[in-house]
């Protein structure tokens, strides 16, 4: 009889290169490091009872992952229509590109690290952890599990050794299992509440004025879009800092997608000002096309707003993967 297969839970950190990939998973009593190249995966197990230390050393890591590569290609794609761009758009595009490259360089130089795991007989690098915030998340999730298996170091022992100025005696570790620390993330914060509110207001205002010709409304909707963008960034920052739940973070990411789609649609429409998109029966309907895109995006924003409201009202979920239960 084949025994049941081990079930693994993904831990923070994933390295996705063009050819090689790496990730780390939590099993019932061990960490599983998965390294893959082409069509082969290699595994290394670190049993929780054997782990002596985890060290995160800050250093520069200029890793170009596949998602970044895809984003860069998508960003470069509109260049095929550069000759059709209005005068100001090219400058904006170059400035935005430089800003993004500068952000990537600064993150790679200042917020990157190497994470090593020590056992009595080995010292292994964990390649999936190369950003400091991911390494911090990883440590926060793994430490309670290792503490549960190994116990915690007796604080009295460390104090005694400090006062004796040297660990002459054999150190004593408290082996009594301690309850795992609860990493409690909040389901919502003021920033996330304002973000959800901005989703609602932005969608409703945009839906009601999409066909209006009053000059002030485009400025208002642009401001609301910027508010949504700022709110999404704030939510993601709070998630990385371990304050907010992953559900709200996913909502913020999902909200950025329709905004990106809308920006692309507008950029394409601006690139071809004299072409009648979907020319039906000789009537130019390019403006209607943009309006329909607006309505679809607004509908998505409204839906996301409802989901956000549900997340806020639901509060902390017992199934939140970010909460390690005792």
């Amino acid at each position: 009889v084949t025994p049941p297969a081990e079930t693994y839970r993904r831990l923070p950190g994933r390295r996705r290169g063009v050819i090689t990939r790496a990730s780390i998973w939590m099993g019932s009593d061990h960490l599983l490091l998965v390294k893959s190249a082409w069509f082969r995966e290699e595994y290394k197990r670190f049993y929780l009872r054997d782990i002596q230390a985890i060290v995160v050393a800050p250093c520069a890591r200029f890793h170009v992952s596949v998602p970044i590569l895809v984003c860069a290609l998508l960003w470069l794609l509109p260049l095929v229509t550069v000759s059709l761009w209005p005068a100001g758009l090219g400058v904006v595009w170059v400035v935005a590109t430089l800003a993004m490259v500068a952000t990537w360089v600064s993150i790679s130089a200042a917020s990157s690290c190497r994470c090593r795991l020590y056992t009595a007989v080995s010292r292994d690098e964990l390649p999936s952890l190369y950003r400091t915030w991911t390494a911090r998340q990883f440590l926060n999730q793994v430490k309670p599990w290792i503490d549960r298996v190994q116990g915690v170091v007796d604080a009295g022992w460390a104090e005694a050794e400090r006062s004796n100025a040297g660990p002459a005696a054999a150190p004593v570790a408290a082996r009594s299992p301690q309850p795992a620390a609860r990493i409690a993330r909040r389901s919502h914060t003021l920033a996330s509440d304002l973000f959800v509110l901005s989703l609602f207001v932005g969608a409703l205002v945009d839906l009601s004025v999409v066909r209006s010709h009053v000059a002030i409304w485009p400025k208002v909707t642009t401001c609301l879009s910027l508010a949504q963008l700022a709110g999404a960034i704030a939510v993601m920052v709070q998630h990385y800092r371990g304050v907010l739940s992953s559900a709200m973070n996913k909502l913020a990411i999902a909200a950025l997608v329709p905004m990106g789609v809308m920006l692309y649609a507008q950029a394409i429409a601006l690139s071809f000002p004299n072409i009648d998109w979907l020319n039906v029966n000789g009537a130019a309907i390019s403006l209607s096309w943009i309006a329909v895109t607006h309505q679809v995006v607004d509908g998505a924003g409204l839906l996301l707003g409802f989901i956000g409201a549900a997340l806020i009202l639901r509060g902390g979920s017992p199934h939140d993967p970010d909460i390690i239960k005792d």
Binding site: T2, Y8, F39, V56, G151, E161
Partner: protein, 183 residues
């Protein structure tokens, strides 16, 4: 750093570059290493180790039953195995606990029809049916340890089926035109 400082501090400075490292240490670091259990010499008539006939046996392998001295006994997943069984990966738990690596047949099945379509589409006349056969043959192979779903196989079968069907339709179409041209 002294051990007591590692136990209380969350950071340690590198002695060569001075960078401030985040450190989490665990009680195993402070545990004294267990003294190795040395095998005793086997007396006349006593059970001896299979690989070391001069040493007294202390356990039998859970898989093959060979007698083992303390040097040869390997604690493995709550059982005691002999080195040969560990090396050979015997027993029903092999696929779960001993695999150091696996080939991702489902990813191969998915990549072949897609890449051949994107890079050199005429090759799909071969890769389409080949992927169908390959997916059927490798369907029951163990997947990645951490991925359980066979959706890659399913998508690969659908794509290769579509490619094969398209080629069949094209061949029939050409054959019909050829026959019409002759008549």
């Amino acid at each position: 750093l002294p051990l007591w400082e590692l136990a209380t501090a969350d950071a340690a400075a590198c002695t060569s570059c001075g960078s401030r490292n985040t450190v989490r240490v665990f009680p195993t670091l402070f545990a004294a290493p267990a003294a190795p259990q040395l095998p005793e010499a086997a007396l006349e008539g006593e059970a001896a180790c299979f690989d070391h006939p001069a040493k007294r046996a202390v356990a039998a392998c859970h898989q093959c039953g060979r007698f083992m001295c303390p040097l040869c006994s390997v604690e493995f997943d709550g059982q005691v195995w002999c080195p040969s069984c560990v090396a050979a990966g015997r027993g029903p738990r092999k696929a779960i606990v001993l695999d150091p690596s696996r080939t991702l047949y489902d990813s191969i099945a998915l990549a072949v029809p897609i890449l051949s379509l994107l890079i050199m589409w005429p090759v799909t006349v071969i890769t389409g049916p080949a992927t169908l056969v390959f997916s059927a043959m490798e369907w029951k192979r163990p997947l990645s340890l951490v991925r359980r779903s066979r959706w890659r196989f399913v998508v690969a079968i659908l794509i290769s089926f579509a490619e094969t069907a398209a080629w069949l339709w094209l061949l029939i179409y050409w054959w019909q035109r050829f026959r019409m041209g002759r008549s």
